[in-house]
């Protein structure tokens, strides 16, 4: 089992300057911890030997970093133009009522966080949503319901970052 520290040190070896490794390190740390609270940011700074403020400023500037906890499954629905033109708004309303939360919210059991995001770069299959590592495209209400049912069934085991990893045998995780 490779530790977080070892993974971060491996990633840092790709750069002549440790500061460049902050972003990869935060991505690794977030996979391990789910989000990036203060003590994790300080640990990253310590591992890389960089200023703490450098780590904090990146963790709060880039949208993929979460300094607050998010649900185990983070539903990220694109609502940019191409998805909007294919009725992503209807899907948002449906998700809000199915989960009983508003966008930006997390269900009480901590399973689902619902967000809208900017373009995911998969407009050929709009409307599209990212959950963990995977994209789900050509969505309609039926497909959303089927996906929610699968995620509920998975809740007792799979991990939040990559819920369906078992369905892709042989594919390496990138961090």
């Amino acid at each position: 089992m490779v530790t977080m520290r070892e993974k971060i040190e491996q990633a840092a070896a790709r750069y002549p300057d440790q500061r460049s490794a902050i972003m990869p390190a935060l991505l690794i740390a977030q996979r391990v911890h789910g989000h990036l609270p203060g003590p994790v940011l300080e640990e990253v700074a310590e591992i890389l030997g960089v200023e703490r403020i450098w780590v904090y400023e990146l963790a709060t500037f880039y949208t993929l970093f979460h300094t607050e906890p998010v649900g185990r499954f983070h539903l990220q629905l694109c609502d940019n133009v191409s998805c909007m033109l294919r009725r992503s708004e209807d899907l948002l309303m449906h998700l809000e009522s199915a989960l009983g939360i508003k966008k930006g919210g997390t269900t009480e059991d901590g399973l689902f966080t619902l967000s809208t995001v900017e373009c995911l770069g998969a407009c050929e299959m709009a409307p599209v949503m990212q959950v963990g590592d995977d994209y789900y495209g050509n969505l309609d209400i039926g497909r959303i319901d089927a996906l929610l049912a699968r995620l509920h069934a998975l809740a007792p085991h799979g991990t939040g970052a990559d819920p369906f990893a078992a369905e892709r045998p042989g594919e390496e995780r990138h961090v």
Binding site: P16, Q18, M23, L64, V81, H174
Partner: protein, 421 residues
Amino acid sequence: MYEPVLLKNVNMPDGHLLSTYEAGGGYRGLAKALKEFTPDEIVELVKRSNLRGRGGAGFPTGMKWSFVPKRADRPKYLCCNADEGEPGTFKDRIVMERDPHQLIEGMAISAYAIGAEVAYVYIRGEYVLAIRRLEQAIAEAKAKGYLGTGILGSDFNFVVHVHCGAGAYICGEETAMLDSLEGKRAQPRLKPPFPAVAGLYASPTVINNVETLVCVPHIVARGADWFRGIGPEKSPGPKLYCVSGQVRKPGLYELPMGIPLRELVEDHAGGPQPDRKIKAVIPGGVSAPVIPEQGLDVGMDFDSLAAVGSMLGSAGVIVVDDTTCMVKIATRIIEFFHHESCGKCTPCREGLNWVVKVLRRIEAGAGAPGDMEQLDMLCKGIFGNTFCALGDGAAMGLRASLAHFREEFVAHIEERRCPFH
């Protein structure tokens, strides 16, 4: 019938594997480059091909390479801009997911040409599958001697590293990308110095888009004249078009540069959905000014689109039909730019915030007399006054919407409601 070149492997099963790539002639361009060309000859070849950058600006690639100083006391870097974030654009993702070796070969030849031994692929963090496939492909290429030291028996050494972004559209701006790679908040730099002279770690750096780099092996393998023979002479080559929105067959299409927008949308992408009419098309991602239906006969290349006041940009073609409100689209686009503004300069950071407020109230039926003039004034205050092209893109797009669809905006204000609801 146009025969795809860039997407040849993309539709094949296992197109992402080295064996598939090699079977289709892959890495022969690299072998030829290392054996038959000096680095300067590759730069000249790419100059003669008239390849222009596919990331959006259309800058001649060979010329960009030639700005790198021949002798430098610092290492040179190649960066691949794979931070594809322009709404409506998905070409680079598909290429990296399904044919990553094509990118690696393109990077290896380009690095040889500019004298770089290290490259970083800056790829957006959401593209998990593309990241995985690219990392697998790099490992395969290393094992087969296409990357590493003494590549294919030459004295050329080259390694590629993948660097994941973390969700910031501004990283598509090349100097912001460099700051991000250096571990800083992504904000554009003042130019000069240009990256070719002082880029990553203040070293000479070339930044090219994924699609630009994947053109390179084909230029080496087939020659500059072949490339120049496709499409308009000043803006030639095979081109990837991303078609999305209210159209029957959204998808990625490879066709010659310069194909009429109407042919792309109506023939290749199947035209509008049943009982609808096309109202407008955004030809190059949301930064590109919208073109009303009557203007669709324009050619899809850098110069033809610039001549009609729009731009090819990333060739993210978004089709809008007659059931859709243009104010709503304009509002969503400006919301995007406002969200992605890096905050460095005032006209973009504050101006877009103000524009969003005005557009939202117009769309909600609460527009005030004078709002149109205020939007015109805000566009004037933003355009040409921002640090980078983000603010310009936002203002140019809004100006086109206001010019072509002014009556829709005015109807919202006068009727105090959205006529499409």
